[in-house]
Amino acid sequence: MWLRRGCTHTRARRVGLATALLAAFVQAAAADEPDVQPQVPTRDVAPVVVRDLRPEDLPDDPSAFTTVIEMDRHQGEAKTVDDLLSEAVGVQVRRLGGPGQPSEVSIRGSTASQVVILLDGIRLDSAQSGVVDLSTIPADLLERIEISRGGGSVQQGTGAMGGVINFVTRRPGAEPRTALTGTLASFGTGEGSALHTARHGDWEVTGAYAGFTTRGDWEFQRPVTKIGNTILVPNPPTLTRINNRSEYQTGLVRIGRDLGEKLHVSLQDDGLFDSRGTPGLDSGGGAYGGQQRNAHQRLTRNVADLSLDGAALTPLALDTTTHLYHRYQRLHFRNPTPTFGPPIDTDQTNQTLGGRFGVDRSVSFFGTEHRATLAFEGYEDRLVAVAFDDPTRLTLDAWLQDDARLFDGLLRIIPGVRYDDTEGFGSRFVPRIGAVIEPWPWLRLKGNLERAYRVPSFDELYFPDEGFLRGNPGLLPEEAVAWDAGLAVAFAGPWPFDRTSLEAAYFESQIENSIVFVLVSPFTVAPVNTGRAISRGIEVSASVGVLEWAVLSINYTHLDARYDGTDTPLPGRSPNEVSGRVQIGPPSGLFKVFGDALYTDTIPVSESGRTILPARTTYDAGIVVDLVKVPVLGERIPLRSLLLSFIGSNLTDVSVRDAQFFPQPGRVLSVKAEATF
C-alpha cells in the first residue's frame, strides 16, 4: 500500500479539474468533422522522425531545437552515451571519473537536475535526486537518443528547464535482428551485449542484455594550483585512481501484441544492477590524495511500463496512448572509513508509480489543419529511507497542445499549456508557444517561448540533518522563462557536396529561485533559493557530405550563464565548446575511418567563478571495418554484418577534468567486435 500524506479533498478537486479538461477536449473534437486521415499514435512509440536533410523534429515538440543521434551511424565506434552527448550542440557532459563512474548532463547551461531523462518515454530521474547517472545507460541497446534543447515542461512537467533527453531502445524492424557486441579497452575494461528483436505475426519481441566491467586503477596527474606567480605543487604529483572497480548488468525485455488493427499493447521491463567503488574526491593530502579506499555503492534499478496504444478509435477517430509505469531504484552506500565522522551505511529505495493517458486528434477548419493533444498524468514518488522520514509526493498533471498548420504549412503555431499540481507545492499553469516558418523547403525559422519549473528533490528538501550538510524543507520550486529562435538550412549540393545543413539558434533562460547548496551558517551547508540566474548563448551546427564518401560536421556552443545579482558565472559550465568530426568511407559501408575533436574552454568550478580549470582539446580516432563486405571473405561469413573496430580516445593523453576534484583517465584504446544476424 502506497503511503500518502495528501489531503483527500484536495486530491478530489484535482481529479475533477482533469475530468473537466477531458470533457472539454472531447466535446471540441466531436464538433469537428473527422475528415482528416487518422495517423498512427506517435508519442512514445515508433519514431516519426523526419529523416531528410534537416535537423530532425520530434513529433511532440516540432518547434523545439533538437538533436537526434541515430546509433546506427555510430555503429562499431565503442562510444558511450556520455561520449555521444558531449559531442552534441548545446550539451555539456560532466564526468566524475573514468569508465563506470558517474557522469551527468547539462543542456544550455542547466544543472543536471534541470534535464529530464527518459528511457523509452518513461522518466529515469528520480524524485530523490533528480539526476540520472549516464554511465548506467548502455549505448549498445539503444536505437537513438533524442535531445530536445531548451524546454519541454509542457510535455514532461517538472525538471525540463534545460531540456529533455529520451533514450530509445531498439525496436523490431521488418526482419528479425540479432546483434552481439564485445569490447575490450584499457584499464581492464570489458563490455558485451546481446540483443534480439523480432516480429512474429501479431507479436513483437525484444530481448537484450548488456554487461560492463572495469578494473579502473588508472594513473592521473594531480593539478598544480597557480596563484599569481606562485604554484602549489601537489605531493605526490601523480596518483592512481583507487577503489575504481565497477561493473553493471542490465537487461531489457519487451513483448508487444497487436490487438486487431487499431490497438497495440506492450509490456517492457528494463533492469539494472550496478556495483562500484566510489573513490570520491582527489582532494587533500596523504598518499591517496584524500580518495576513499573503502567506499562502495550498489544500485538496483528497474523500470516497467505497460502501454496500450490506439489508432483512429471510433467514434471520434482518436489516437490514444495509455501507460502504467513503475520505476524502482535502490541505492546502498557504505563507507566504513570516511575521512571524518563515524562509518556511513545508507540504504535508500525510491519508487515512482504512475499512469498517463493521452489522446490525439487531427482536425481541419477554416483552411487550417490542427493536431491537438490532450494528456493526463498522475504519479506518486516515494522514498524509503529512515533518515529522510520516508517522504512521499503525489503529482497530478494535464497538458493540452495544438499543432496548427496555416497557409498550406508555411506557418506552424504550436501553443500548449500544462496544469501541474504537486503535493506540497500547490498548482501552476505552464504555458508555451512555438512557431515554425518554412518559406522554402530548404529553410526553416523556429522560435519558442515557454515557462518551466522544477520541484525540489527529496534530497534538497529532506537530506538528513546529521552534520555539515542538510536539506531545506522550505525550498520553493525553481521557475524559468525561456525563449529561443533560430534557423535551419538544408539542401543537396552544391557539388562536390551531396548534402549541406546548418542550424543556428540563440537561447536565453531566466531562472528564478535557483536552488543552490551554499553555506548558510558557520556550521551548515544547505540548499537555498537564490536570486535570478540567466543563461544565454548561441548554438551553431553544420554538416556537409562530400560525394557520399565523407561527412564533415562541426558544432559550436557559446554559453554565458551567471547569477544576475552578483554577475558571477554559474560553476561547472564551459563558456565555449566546439566539437568536430570527420568520417570517411565508401557508400558501401565496407569501412569507415573517423576522427573526433572536442575543444572545451576553461571551466569555472567555484561559486565565484574564480577557480578555473584549464581549456583542453581531446582527439579520438578509429577505424571500423565490416568484414562481411570485404570481397571474397565476406561471402564466407553468414552474417548481415561483422564489424571490427580499433578506437583510440584522448589520443594526445591530455589531463581532463570536468570537476575540480574528479580526475579522468588519459589515453584509452579499445577493440570492438559487433556481429549482426
Binding site: P223, V224, T225, K226, I227, G228, T230, I231, L232, V233, P234, N235, P236, S283, G284, G285, G286, A287, G290, R293, T337, T339, F340, G341, P342, D465, E466, G467, R470, N472, P473, G474, V516, V518, L519, V520, S521, P522, F523, T524, A526, V528, N529, T530, G531, Y563, G565, T566, T568, V605, S606, E607, S608, G609, R610, T611, I612, L613, P614, Q660
Partner: protein, 504 residues
Amino acid sequence: MIEVTSADSRCAPLPGPFPPGLDLVPGISGRAVVANFSPPSLLPFDLGPVPPVISAAGSVPVIPPDSDADGCDEPGFPPCPSTTPQPDGVLAVSAGLALLSASAYEEVLFVDPASGRPVTGTVGTPASFAPRQYVYLPAPGTTAPRTAVSTSGCVPVEPGMTDSRGDALAAPPAAWCLPGLPSFRPTFTSGVAVSAGHLFVSMSNLGDNSVPASAQYLPGAVLVYDFDISSGAPVVSPNAVTPVVITSGFNPTHVTAYRTPLGRDLVLVSGSGAIGRRTDDPATPALEAGGIALTGAFVDVIDAATLRLLATVPLGAVGLAFDRLAIDPTGRVALAGSAVGRALYGIDLEPLDALPAAPGVPLVLDGSTGPDARIFYAGAPFTIPALPEGPPAETCNGFVVSADWNAAGTRLYATEYCDGTLVTLAADLSGAPSLDALRGGRFRFVSIDPVLAPVSASSVGRPRAPGSLRVRSGRPGVDYTGPDVFVLAGSPEGLLCGIRVESR
C-alpha cells in the same frame, strides 16, 4: 593547471576554501603565514603589497604523504595511520619555525614560515611512558628525527567524568590507551602555544556530531610537551610528569601564552563549551541553522612552569569563538568573540598574578572561590549590532570569529562571519581601571564595516565568511605603508585580504 584569482583587489587568493589559520611571523616585519586546508599546506605571505603576495619564490610544497617523517605514509595500513592531517591552525613561533596544528591524523607539524617546507626536529618519548601511550611517537626512551609531533596521546578518565551530554564515559577496556586505566585518545587538535619551555596543545575531543542539536564532546584536554628551539630545530617530547591537563569545560579550542606584569608565564585556555546547531522548525519558513551553546564557555589558567591548572573563569553558555584570545598590549584584558552570537566576551587579567602557585583546587574566578575576573560574560555581553541586510537570525545568528588589538591598545578589531563585517571597538585601559570601570564604559562600539558579503542567498558567488584577523604591528603610514589589518575569507575561495583602517 588550476588557476585561482581574486575578484577583490584587496585580497590574495588561496588554493582552497576555509583557510583555518593566520599568524604574523615574529621578528620579520610584514610577514605572515596562512594555514591552507586543502591542499594541506602553509603559505608564507608578504603583507606589504596590495594585495598580499606569496613570498616563497616559485613554488610552495604541499604537506607530503609522510607528514611527520616517521616512515609511514598517511593514510596507510596498520600500524600506519589510516587518516591524513587536516590543518586546523597555525602559530608562528619564530622567523624559522611555525607550528601547524592538524586534526584527523592528529599532530603539530614543524614548518619553515619562509618557504612552507617541513622542518626536521627531534621528537622523543619519556622512558616512563607505556608502549603506545603516544601511538605515533618513537618508542619510550628513544628519540627520532621528525617533521611533526603526534598529538595522538592518551587522556586519563577520572572518576565521575562525563561527556557533554552528561553520560558516563563508558568505553570498553580494550579501547583504553593507558594500560589498565580508563582513558581515551584525544582528537581534533586545535590551538598551539609555547611558553616557559613547553608546548601546549588544546584538544577539542569532539565525539558524536551526528545529532547537531546535542553534539557530544568528551572532556577537553591540553597536551603538554617539553619544547626547546634553542638550537634552531625543535626538540619535543611529552612532558614526563604532566603530559595532559584536563580542562574545566568542554571543547578547548585555543591556548594563548600570557606573561603577567610580574613576569609569570601562564597559558590561557579558551573553551567554547559544547556547541550544537538548531534543528529546523518545519512550521517556520526560515531554515533554523544557527549555532547554540550547550554547555558553559570558560577560560582556564595554566601555570606554564608548574603545569597546574590554577583557575578558571566561567563565562556562561556563550559559545566562545575558536581563535586565540586577543590580549591587549598592556596585558590587562583578554577578549574573544562568540561562535553563537554577535558579541564579545572578555576577562580581566589583573587577578592572575596573584593566583596561588601551591597545589590545590583551581579557583573559580567569578567571585565564588576567587576574585571576579569576568568583564563581558553571559550576564553582561558586549553586543555588536547586526547589519540590516545580513542573514536571518534563524540561519546565522552571529559568529564573531577573531579579534586583535592595534599596537597602542586603543582599538580592537573583530571579524563577524554572518554579516561579513569588520567591527571596531575603542578601548580606554589607561589609569589601571577597576573591573567595574572596564564593564562600565571603557569599551565603546565605534563602527561596523561590511568588508565582505553577508552569508545569505543573495551573496552567492561573492567573497564572504571572514575568519582569522591580525593587526600588523607598528604604526601604519609611519613604520610601513599598505594595509594594517589582515583578514581571512573562507568562501567561495579562501582569501587573504589586507585592509587599511589606520589602526594606530
